[in-house]
Symmetry: C2
Subunit: 269 residues, 2 copies
């Protein structure tokens, strides 16, 4: 039997709120067993960019990353956000190590090709699509009792440049990449109580979501917008070897994972 | 006999010049054997701070680091500078891993106490004085064929905050901390050819500097200003177990270390 591993992703809204973040990190530090944290960037990159006079442009919720914006996300995600999480976890006696995809060649990617099939043409700039996750190196860190904290940045090993990458996608890729070595529970933590039947009512958590129920909820319009790529990603992870996917509130990590009394569990049925 | 290790520090002026930095990293990647790189911050932090409207205040060449400035140096040193070095080295087939003192609890420090014995009182703010280097963890990385690239940031393990720390001092502390496990050559690379008898003439390199010659040069006024803390640091490292200290031009790393035909070698005589 493979050892268990939690691959936890913490979303941007929590990152932006230092009290909520600290509270989440305290629960995360208390979680026993092998674990990896992936964090989003939050609004800090947009705020820093604005102060530096660099305009933020989003297409379908994704940040267009020109050279100046790449510098900003490398600073903010890889430096400010990542290192403050590491320092907080260290003070909670967790042996955190902050990493990006470039460090130890962990997550290789390539620059997303320009989409010239649409008008106007979409060029995301320095955005990375993941090619490979170095599961052996992450396993070596875990065996060495280190707690990897991964920022949403990958790199192109040929060009030697950093690339901006969606944190949900990275979490999914890391979970799949480690499923060869571990029985992985991929956990998405955010500001809602789970996958909701009514997006405006936090008391309507769906405890178990199958692909069939997901399809029904989409048809009925109950699940929509940003939840769709997140859930598509999550079901894809299950189909690619991840043992379990949990979606829960950042405040309910312990309840969702150890007591199983909170959040939504995804299953292939 | 202990294995050999190079602890190399690359200074700010080289960091500021992307071509000089790339050229240095190419020589560094080609250097055979165990090695660790510590980098300075350069002027980028000052430039970013200025654009963000945060004033830079220096006392005796050291940056006063209030909370806003701590965010800037955490972003710039730990994010932008560190990750761009890592991505470049990865493209040169060096398995670089970017780290700060907080990562894996590598370099613990405490906030420098306010100096109230002077008038006006000096409060450096979030500046760290080093307490301990985790030589075992750095050794584990090296044995794992990883190349540590360390940014000039430490952390306070009790407060859980990052701290700004002088890169020369960090290089010296890392070299001393690893001298238990390795025969360490501490190498300071900068924009001059070595320790010069005449600071304005790059052809006046002192090939071997003993404490006696150093004292004579100071008395004669040939060595002054910023070189004095650097050399005091370097001689202290030799007295604390470091086998060799080399000071050389960033362009002459290979010549200084493998051919021994460039730079200044410090010896206790």
């Amino acid at each position: 039997m493979k050892p268990k591993l939690y691959v936890v992703k913490i979303g941007g809204n929590i990152i932006d709120n230092s009290e909520a973040l600290r509270s989440f990190l305290t629960s995360f530090a208390a979680l026993k067993g092998n674990k990896i944290l992936l964090h989003g960037g939050g609004k800090i990159a947009t705020q820093v960019a604005e102060k530096l006079g660099i305009p933020t442009e989003m297409v379908e919720g994704r940040r267009i990353t020109d050279h100046a914006m790449l510098d900003v996300v490398t600073m903010v995600y890889g430096g400010l956000v990542n290192k403050n999480i590491v320092a907080t976890l260290q003070s909670l006696n967790s042996n955190a190590i902050g990493l990006t995809g470039a460090d130890a060649g962990l997550i290789r990617a390539h620059k997303r090709p320009v989409n010239d099939k649409v008008d106007p043409v979409i060029d995301y700039g320095f955005v990375g699509d993941i090619d490979a996750v170095n599961g052996k190196q992450l396993t070596a860190f875990l065996k060495n009792k280190l707690l990897p904290i991964i920022a949403p940045l990958t790199f192109d090993p040929t060009l030697g440049v950093m690339l901006n990458t969606n944190a949900d996608t990275m979490a999914s890729a890391v979970a799949v990449g480690l499923s060869e070595f571990y029985d992985v529970n991929l956990v998405y933590c955010f500001e809602k109580n789970g996958v909701l039947l009514d997006a405006d009512n936090d008391d309507t958590v769906i405890p178990v979501l199958t692909p069939e129920l997901y399809a029904t909820c989409k048809t009925a319009g109950a699940i929509y917008k940003g939840m769709i790529p997140k859930l598509d990603n999550a079901f894809a992870a299950l189909r690619n070897g991840v043992a379990e996917v949990t979606i829960c509130h950042a405040d309910q990590l312990g309840l969702a994972l150890t007591k199983k009394t909170a959040g939504t569990k995804l299953t292939l049925g």
